[in-house]
């Protein structure tokens, strides 16, 4: 399951996922499949076992186990999958946060909640939405750092993996991470 191929070492923008993936449409398809799988996994965890963990890293790993051998992902390396999954996981969590009837923020429209009694314990949801918005801003000025944050935070990539993904040194990653984290944190403060 590891290393289906060495990913390229040139720098990547947050839109580009490497030479393994042919075009936009394929990317979208991969993303869609991953997203749906993560949603499904998350939902199935909810229902079946109250003690099971909802750790996104675990979910991503499980999704990879399921999807790795299916046709759309034959040409994808594990690293690239994690990258896609990170983006998908972000989407999943943000939508879940929105569903909780969290605060309005900017132009985002809050969707009608599915569940009735969900007004308690919303800080996590609020935080996530705030992060999402801030991350969008960061992406405007430094796509690479936004990708980095997304991959590390939502996808659970470690420093080495992130460095490989983005084609930079680990020292650069650490440095950029520190700055991005600090900036995002202060952006998120109400």
């Amino acid at each position: 399951m590891e290393s289906r191929g060495t990913p390229p070492t040139h720098g990547l923008t947050s839109d580009e996922l490497g030479t393994m993936v042919a075009d936009r449409r394929t990317l979208d398809h991969l993303f869609s499949v991953t997203y749906e799988e993560l949603r499904r996994l998350a939902a199935s965890v909810r229902r079946d076992d109250p003690n099971a963990s909802l750790s996104p890293t675990a979910l991503v790993n499980e999704a990879w186990l399921k999807l790795a051998s299916s046709p759309p992902f034959m040409m994808t390396s594990r690293l690239h999958f994690k990258r896609i999954a990170a983006r998908a996981m972000r989407q999943v969590l943000i939508e879940a946060a929105r569903r909780r009837g969290a605060l309005k923020r900017g132009p985002d429209v809050v969707q009608v909640t599915f569940d009735e009694a969900l007004q308690k314990g919303n800080s996590g949801a609020d935080d996530l939405l705030a992060l999402d918005a801030a991350l969008e801003q960061l992406a405007q000025v430094s796509p690479r750092q936004a990708t980095m944050v997304e991959s590390r935070f939502f996808g659970g990539l470690d420093v080495a993996e992130t460095a490989e993904l983005l084609g930079v040194s680990e020292a650069t990653i650490l440095r950029d991470w520190r700055a991005a984290k600090a900036w995002l944190a202060q952006e998120m403060r109400p």
């Binding site: 869609s32 996104p56 969590l93 909640t113 569940d115 000025v141 700055a179 984290k181 998120m188």
Partner: protein, 884 residues
């Protein structure tokens, strides 16, 4: 800190901020303030941002420092999100109308218009943002379908979290099949109603919308008797939701298998023809009260195989079995069969091209006019093909007989050893035969392209099986089924992988003597036989039988199959007496299944006939074959290759008896059937030509015999390439013929070529190489090149002794030949020794009247004469005078 409404920063700014931040962060607290003042200057915003960042950096208490799992827990949570919203958009849910495979259907009211609608909300179907967009745009297209018989789609969208929903016209009524039954409609009435359905579908097709999920529950009839079709085009959007890794969730299995077209199962292109198929199935149900395939209790793998490969029973037959089906006249049923089966044809190209074409034929039928569809367009032989057992290869054995070596004054003898070359040739023949029968009604040859189509079809099925991720038992079942089909198509490597996988899994899941394990062992054994790995084959089949004798009832079909399989393997290994006993047992087991002959019974009888043949029991072989012949005629028709095979087998027995004119007559009959079936350029025809040529040549009818052989050779060279054993055996025939005619140079040429082919294909230790050598040696002997001939004969004898045993027929014959050469050289004592040794061996295995022995006796008499041993000479001379 920034707040919403601040101007967004740009990249340059960001770099500035970072530079300042990193610079400051590296300093100790006291030096920082100065640094910042210097670096930010008047830029208050910059200072504020960087200060805030430094503070956060110190504190390390933000979201990003926490584990995201904690957050995920919070948002994803443990709540039940299975309650649907009370209202969304203009709709307010009132009550549950029903639940289907896809989701729940509610009755909803529309506050603004005061009307009602049916809302279908799809559970567990989360569309990603991209897909939501596509979904929405396609629904807009569907909403434009406007036809009185099509339920209007009012609206479609997704809820905030991606769950799709549809709002449709609310229809009250019953499903098409229930309505027809409740009102006890006659066939013409059903057809009229069905025609309205077709009109609606046709309308949608004209608007480029395909339904993809037509079935009676989607075809409603209102109390007033009007048709309403539901759920148009919905299946398309949701199709891909079912195609990700987790296929076992029933909610995502969108197709209703009973109505699914083969191309939907294999993932091929879906289109108008798919709706035609579904309409065919619905029509089938309307006419017979039953579905074309009995799928209850089958595993998904079996279901898929049934739909893709199995031939449905004709509606007329099915209706007869049910007492609830409406009645019709015999001629009507013939036409109804055509209507239904043409619509339901497995090959989309053979169905009605459009729904309109189907409607036209319905109208023809109702008006009592002839249909446009042809009856022979239906009737897919695939089902028969899958049931059919191995084609008897007795006919193939005669090529071997010829190979044994035909020298003018020796009669050909059938050797009992089976020949791997023959297996190879016959296997190639079988494969070609099967792939051809797969698509046509057997009336014309179909090229390799179509056999590849089937393999492609199956490959897709295989991919489905792999991604199924289903329970091991189901997977094992599917692997087994597919493995068997691959085997019949000759894709032996794929079959090997699959059957092995199936066996391994089944061994884990089931007990040793169970039907499943037994069946798998037998299947793998048969594959080994096809691969000419006979020792393994026998081991496997015996394991199957021994394991299951105590645990399965004696008449279990799997036992009968395994018995039949063992009979085959024994025959292949040359153990004819045992084979006879076992094949007879298989016949007994298959006879128990009823009065009507089945393909299995006929095949097992045919195998028994072959066993007798090889054992030299020609009369027994003939009597059994005469039982098989009418069975095959009834099962497959008069002009079928299997029938021809039996005819040729009868011819072979005549040949063995030396009745060449009779053999010629039968071979001609067989050739006519085969040539009519396969055409003049097919290797099966080459085969039948060779049989006929042999019989002709033995009557010295060279003018017809030789061209026939040459034609056969040309075909085989083309089909198999120049280095194939089948080519070698034809060349051998030509060599023998030339020899018979005294054309020694030509004979030498042919036999030399034969030697080269066998050397290349089998190596110099193989007995076939020995036969070729021996035949070539015969030419040298005739040319009086005795030393060379002697050397080659001795080489052949050594080879036979090693490969087949000192008592083998081939060894005996070669010694007789050597004896003759030595006699010609005047080495009488040695000649007598060899000829006698050969005579002893051969006479134990042949009737005395045969010319091997006749000529051996002649040689022995001559040798003993020369050795001045008159009494010995007399012993052999008396018998040569003609009487026994």
């Amino acid at each position: 800190m920034a707040s919403p409404g601040d101007a967004a920063i740009d990249t340059a700014r960001w770099n500035q901020i970072q530079a300042a931040f990193h610079g400051a962060a590296e300093l100790t607290a006291d030096r920082r303030a100065d640094f910042l003042r210097e670096c930010c200057g008047d830029d208050r915003e910059l200072l504020a941002s960087v200060s805030a960042m430094l503070e956060e950096d110190e504190r390390a208490g933000s979201l990003l420092d926490r584990d995201v799992a904690y957050l995920a827990e919070q948002v994803l949570g443990r709540t039940n999100s299975s309650l649907p919203p009370d209202r969304f958009g203009p709709y307010r849910l009132r009550e549950v109308l029903g639940e289907g495979g896809m989701g729940v259907v509610y009755l909803a009211g529309r506050d603004d218009l005061g009307s009602v609608a049916a809302i279908k909300i799809l559970r567990d179907a989360w569309l990603s943002p991209e897909r939501r967009e596509r979904f929405a745009s396609e629904q807009r297209t569907l909403a434009q379908l406007n036809h009185p018989s099509i339920a209007r789609l009012y609206d479609a969208d997704t809820l905030g979290d991606g769950t799709p929903w549809f709002a449709m016209e609310y229809v009250e009524g019953s499903s098409l099949t229930s309505y027809c039954d409740e009102h006890a409609l006659s066939i013409p009435e059903r057809l009229r109603l069905f025609r309205s359905v077709c009109d609606a579908v046709q309308h949608a097709h004209q608007h480029l919308v395909v339904h993809r999920d037509l079935k009676p529950s989607n075809i409603m009839v209102t109390p007033e008797g009007a048709i309403k079709l539901l759920d148009f085009g919905i299946a398309k959007q949701l199709e891909h939701l079912g195609r990700t890794a987790d296929q076992t969730r029933t909610g995502l299995r969108l197709m209703t298998p009973a109505y699914a077209a083969p191309e939907q199962i294999t993932g091929s292109r879906v289109g108008v023809h798919t709706d035609v198929y579904a309409l065919g199935v619905v029509l089938y149900e309307l006419l017979t009260g039953r579905l074309p395939f009995e799928l209850a209790g089958l595993t998904p793998g079996q279901v898929e195989t049934a739909i893709v490969v199995q031939e449905p029973e004709r509606p007329s037959t099915k209706a007869r079995q049910s007492d609830t089906a409406p009645a019709a006249s015999k001629t009507s049923w013939a036409d109804l069969d055509v209507l239904c089966l043409t619509a339901m044809h497995k090959d989309p190209a053979r169905r009605y091209k459009t729904v309109e074409a189907l409607v036209r034929d319905i109208e023809h039928f109702l008006a009592g006019e002839p249909l446009e569809a042809r009856p022979d367009a239906m009737g897919y032989r695939v089902g028969k093909f899958v049931r059919r057992n191995r084609v008897p290869v007795a006919a193939a054995a005669f090529t071997l007989a010829v190979v044994v070596g035909l020298v003018a004054f020796y009669t050909a003898r059938v050797t009992r050893a089976r020949n791997e070359a023959i297996t190879e040739a016959s296997r190639a023949q079988r494969i070609q035969r099967f792939t051809m029968n797969l698509f046509e009604g057997g009336d014309k040859e179909v090229g390799p392209a179509d056999s590849m189509r089937v393999v492609t079809l199956l490959d897709r099925g295989l991919l489905e099986a792999r991604t199924l991720g289903a329970e091991p038992a189901i997977q094992a079942e599917l692997y087994e089924t597919l493995g068997r089909i691959y085997q019949k198509l000759g894709a032996l490597t794929r079959a090997d992988t699959l059957l092995n996988a199936a066996l391994d899994q089944r061994k884990k899941l089931f007990k040793a003597g169970s039907a499943e394990v037994t069946g798998s062992l037998n299947a793998l054994g048969m594959l080994r036989a096809d691969q000419a790995r006979f020792e393994e084959a026998e081991q496997l089949v015996r394991e199957a039988l021994d394991g299951s004798r105590s645990s399965l009832p004696a008449n279990h079909p799997v036992l009968a199959q395994a018995t039949f399989g063992l009979g085959r393997v024994l025959q292949e290994r040359g153990r004819y007496d045992s084979a006879i006993a076992v094949s007879a047992e298989a016949v007994r087991l298959y006879s128990a299944s009823g009065a009507k002959p089945t393909p299995e019974l006929a095949a097992s009888l045919s195998q028994l006939a072959d066993d007798h043949f090889y054992a030299g029991h020609y009369d027994a072989s003939d009597s059994v074959n005469l039982l098989v012949l009418p069975m095959y005629r009834e099962l497959y028709g008069q002009r079928h290759p299997l029938v021809a095979g039996i005819v040729i087998n009868l011819g072979a027995a005549q040949y063995q008896r030396g009745k060449y004119a009779e053999a010629e007559r039968l071979d001609r009959e067989g050739l006519a059937i085969i040539e009519g079936f396969y055409g003049g350029e097919h290797h099966e025809t080459a085969y039948a030509l060779t049989m006929l040529a042999r019989a002709l040549i033995f009557q010295d009818k060279f003018t017809e015999g030789v061209p026939a052989l040459q034609r056969a050779l040309a075909i085989r060279e083309r089909v198999f390439g120049p280095w194939h054993p089948a080519v070698a055996s034809t060349v051998n025939e030509l060599g023998n013929t030339a020899f018979k005619q005294g054309k020694l140079d030509e004979a030498e040429r042919h036999f030399s070529r034969m030697v080269e082919i066998y050397r290349k294909v089998y190596g110099e230790k193989h007995y076939l190489f020995g036969i070729a050598t021996s035949n070539l040696a015969g030419v040298y002997s005739e040319r009086k090149d005795y030393p060379r001939a002697e050397r080659m004969f001795r080489q052949a004898i050594a080879l036979y002794t090693e490969a087949q045993g000192p008592e083998h027929l081939n060894t005996g014959i070669a010694r007789i030949k050597l004896g003759r050469t030595l006699l010609r050289e005047g080495r009488f004592a040695e000649a007598a020794q060899e000829s006698l040794a050969g005579y002893d061996i051969v006479s134990k295995q042949s009737v005395p009247g045969v010319s091997w022995l006749k000529n051996a006796r002649k040689d022995l008499a001559a040798a003993y004469d020369s050795l001045k041993q008159p009494d010995k000479a007399a012993r052999f001379r008396d018998t040569t005078s003609g009487t026994r």
